[in-house]
Structures are given as C-alpha cells and as structure tokens.
Amino acid sequence: MRRFKDRLALWLGALCAVLAMIPLISILYEVVKNGASTIDIDFLTAAPGVIGQPGGGIGPAIQGTLILVGLTIIIGVPLGVLSGIYLSEFGDNPVGRTIRFLNDVLAEFPSVVIGVVIFTLIVLTLRSFSVVAGAFALSIIMLPVVTRSTEESLKLVPNSIRDASIALGIRRWRTTLSVVLTTAKSGVVTGILLAIARVAGESAPLVFTILGSQYFFSGLSSPMDALPLRIYRLALLPYPYAQAQGWGAALVLILMVLVVNIGVRLATRGRLYSKRSRA
C-alpha cells in the first residue's frame, strides 16, 4: 500500500508537469501554425492598412518596440545597476534592507498600476500620449529586476577579490567599478538581457502611455505603436485578416523573447550565475 502511494505520488507529479506543459506547447504550436504564413517582408515593414481591409503590416509596431527598448535601456540600466551596486556593496544595514525589500515588492507589482500612474503623471499633464511616457513606465518596470540581478551577480564575486584591490591602495569606488563589476560582468549583462525580454512583452502600461498608432515613429512626445500593443488592437478587431496578422505579430514577439531567453540560458549553462540554476 505504501509502495502504491509512492508510485501514485510520482505519477501525479508527472501528470502535473504534463498539464503545465500542454499550454506552452499549444501556444507555441498555434502561434507558429497561424502566424508563419502571414510573415513576409511586406508584413514586417509596412504600416497597417485601413481598418477593415486586409493588407498592411506591423512595421511601425516593430520599430516602436525597438525604440522603446532602446530608451528603456538608457533610463533603466544605469539606474538599476547603480542601485544593485549600492545594495551589494553598501547595503548591509537597515536602510539597505528596507530598500531591498521594497525593491522586491515593486518587482512583483502589476504593470497596469504603473501604467496608470504614468498616465496620470505624464500623459494627463502633458495632454498627450507619448513615447517618453511609455519609456518611463517600462523603465520603472525594469528597474527592480535589473537591481535584483545586479546585486546577486555582484554578491557572487568573492570578497578576496575586493580585499586584494583595497590592499593595493585602490579606492572603494574604483574597486567596485573596475574590479568587482568587471568580474561580475556576464551575470550583470545576463540580468539586463532577461529584463529587456520581459519588458519588451509588456502591453498593459503601453495602452495608457503610447496609446498605439498607425504610423511610424513621429517624435518622442507623440503616440507610437509597439508589438504587444498592436497584437492587442488586432485582437479586438472582428476581421479574419486581423486575426491572421495578430498571430503573425505574436510569432515575431515570441521569437524575440524566446531567442533572448534561450540564448541566455545556453550561454550560461553550467555557470552558477543565478540562484535558479539549481537544476
């Protein structure tokens, strides 16, 4: 009987694993099946056509995502890396602990709330939807993730390295930037890449900040399109061409995200850069 329970537990566990894998496989399958046929050069570079009529593409959306990612990196990476540096090198005190705790809370925050805050703060104040608003919203979402991964990567650098540098008469800040950070470089970069992949897929905050557009980039203070947003807008349209285009855009987005994720995973295989690689 005890044997039986043990076996049963194993099979139930395996069943749960299978149940979780089915949606992923289904999603990938559907995205590829429905989206592959839509993708061609025109689709990837053209602007959307008239609503209701087939034709057009997701050019502005792809451009928009790339621009947003670029801006978010400019704003969010220095902020996140420096915060991570503080927490790792100077953060062993009550203030540091509080910041770390709140950082982890912010990391789990619903992105829609952040979108609403930026909407009120920037969009309403400037009376227009804008790329800048979107960049700020995404930076706020990215910040705690980069902070956390930077801190973890820096903490993996053994103290003996810091000691060696300090003993040479090198100042603390120089030690941190030129010795510790360079030693932890690959971990920090990995963290940034994963944060970018996550942020690139966010759509809720974009609804309230960049709004979406039929046109290519037309200024930092104007609305703009982005991949996740375009997918959303297409999903709301009742036309078959919209459905097909939605799958096509989804395929492009999921390829971007999965390539980064799998690429990072392969590149750091066997290296203990994160607490999660405890397979």
Partner: protein, 323 residues
C-alpha cells in the same frame, strides 16, 4: 564605545569628503528611487481619485453602478478580480505543488532539466500572447468541452448560468491559473530544495518511502514558504491584465457582477485597460477609474509585502541563498 568611534569616523569623513563617500551616497540615491517610485505612485493615485472618493465615500467600494448619472461603484470589479484570482489559485496551486514536488524530489535528472526549463520558459511568454491564445483557442475549448456539457446537465444552477461562448470568468480564471503556475512552482521548488538534507536523511533512515519522506520532512518544513509562493501567485493573478482583458468579455456596471462562472465580467485591471485612455480629463469617471487603480495598488502592495515576508523569512532561515 563603538558609537563614539563611528561618529568620529563620520566627522573625519565630513572634514575630508572623499570620492568613496560620494560613491556610496550617490548609489544610495539611485537605490532609493525605488522607494520614491512607490511613494509617488501612492500620492498620484490618491490625488487623482480624490474626487470620486470624497463624493461616494464607502459606497465607492460597495456600489454597483457605473455611469455619470447614477454614480460609480467598484464592487463588481473587485468581486470579478477576486473570483478570477480564486479560480486561478484553486487550479494553479495544486498543479504547481505537484510540479514542484516532482522536480525537487522525484524526477530523474534529464527529465528534471527539461521540465524545469519548459516551466521557466512558460514564465517568459508575454501575457498578451496568453490572451491571444486564450481568445482564439482556450475559449473555444471551454465553450465546447466545459461550458456546454456542464450547462447541459446543471445549467439550472445560477452559478452555471449565462451565455458567453467562452468569454467569461471561468476562461479568465483558467488563463490566470496557467500564468501563475511557473511562479508558484519555481518558488516552492526553491523552498523545498533548501530543506536541509539531514531532515530527509532522518526520515529515510526510519525506512520511509520517497513520498513519505516528502510528506514528513520536506512539506511540513516548507509550509510557510509554499504559502508565501501561493500568495505571490495570488498577487500576480490579481494584477494580470492583458490576458484577462481578451477573454473575460468586458461587461460593466451591475451586469458585471460575478453571479456565474459562465457570464462575461470585468476585473479591476481590465476596466482600467478598457476605459482609462478614453476617460475625460477632470471627469468623475476618470477619478473613479483612478480610485480603482488605488484599490488595486493597495491590494497588490499588501499581498506582495506579506508574500515577500513569508518567502524571505523561510529562505533565510533555511539558509537558502535568496540574496
């Protein structure tokens, strides 16, 4: 004596401001931006919602109307959020736990690596794509294989009433369940893995089977950590927006009250997506929507704080490397 010495050092530092001090306090300023963001969000939302909160008071939370004429009440959306989150937890937690136990304790190496990588990739899929899939695929499945048969036999029960062709609370809850599984599973697994081997060995040494070891040593030890993981999953389910928007049907006002699993509905997150960008500046509706944003902020904050406390404490106590 140590206080005197550190005060002395501080004074010395002030006399000779060094690049190191600049660096330390400069990076502190950056790190503090997190705190500033949270506080700023609270202030912005409270200020924006002021109009609606003062006008409606408590009835903002208990009313069910949603128009400029009869007033704005957030109850249907609060309940909608709670119902979908509840469904997500009921379905998601057991499966996540099963996966965590399977991966932490039972699976052979190769399978473990494959499955855990797939589960982590699930977490990387953008939520809008879950929404798309939910809209075009899952919904059909629910409509044909869940809603139809159940309504066929039990449709007279109010909880199973309504026509919605799959765009309803149940589908939304299912999508959410799938989305929170990676979170709960991976944190639970970390908690389990950090249970000291000595605990397991003690159980094995009295002749327990693998499952019994799990039950006796690992699960009881990990209880609060797993609970924390579930709460984190709950937090995620409550805040999830785009995927839910596409499959929940978008009702509003009193008709959005979750009276049945198979009726279309609305959550706090989805009504924001549906209405905020078009709301008129200065209007009561805008204030009401921001009020919902505030409620969502408060709930998400509270849940995340509790979850972090639980998970932190457990992982630290068990010596796991969480930081």
């Amino acid at each position: 004596m140590s206080n005197r010495l550190s005060l002395q050092k501080l004074l010395e530092g002030l006399k000779h401001p060094s690049s190191d001090g600049f660096f330390k306090y400069g990076s502190l300023a950056f790190a503090g931006s997190v705190v500033a963001i949270i506080v700023l969000s609270l202030v912005v939302l409270a200020q924006g919602a002021f109009l609606a909160l003062t006008k409606f008071g408590v009835s903002f939370l208990t009313g069910t109307n949603w128009d400029a004429a009869t007033g704005f009440g957030a109850l249907p959306y609060i309940l909608g959020t709670l119902l979908t989150a509840f469904i997500a937890i009921i379905i998601g937690v057991p499966i996540s736990l099963g996966i965590a136990i399977f991966l932490a304790e039972m699976a052979p190496d190769v399978i473990r690596v494959v499955v855990s990588n797939i589960v982590e990739l699930l977490a990387a899929v953008p939520s809008i794509i879950y929404g798309l899939w939910g809209l075009y695929v899952l919904r059909i499945w629910v409509a044909n294989y869940v809603q139809a048969p159940i309504q066929g036999s039990f449709g007279f029960l109010p909880i199973f009433g309504g026509t919605s062709y799959g765009l309803n609370f149940l589908t939304a809850g299912l999508v959410l369940a799938i989305m929170i599984i990676p979170t709960i599973a991976s944190i639970s697994r970390e908690v389990m893995v950090s249970v000291p081997t000595s605990q397991r060995e003690a159980a094995y040494s009295v002749g327990a089977t693998r499952w019994e070891v799990v039950r006796m040593s690992v699960l009881s030890y990990s209880r609060s950590g797993i609970f924390g993981a579930a709460i984190l999953g709950l937090g995620r389910a409550i805040g999830e927006t785009m995927a839910v928007t596409l499959v929940i049907g978008g009702a509003s006002g009193a008709s959005a009250l979750p009276t049945s699993l198979f009726r279309p509905g609305q959550t706090m997150a989805t009504i924001l997506v549906n209405q905020l960008s078009e709301a008129e500046s200065g209007s009561l509706q805008l204030a009401a929507l921001l009020g919902i944003g505030l409620v969502l902020f408060a709930i998400a904050f509270a849940i995340n704080v509790v979850a972090q406390l639980l998970v932190w404490r457990v992982l630290k106590v068990q010596g796991g490397a969480v930081e």
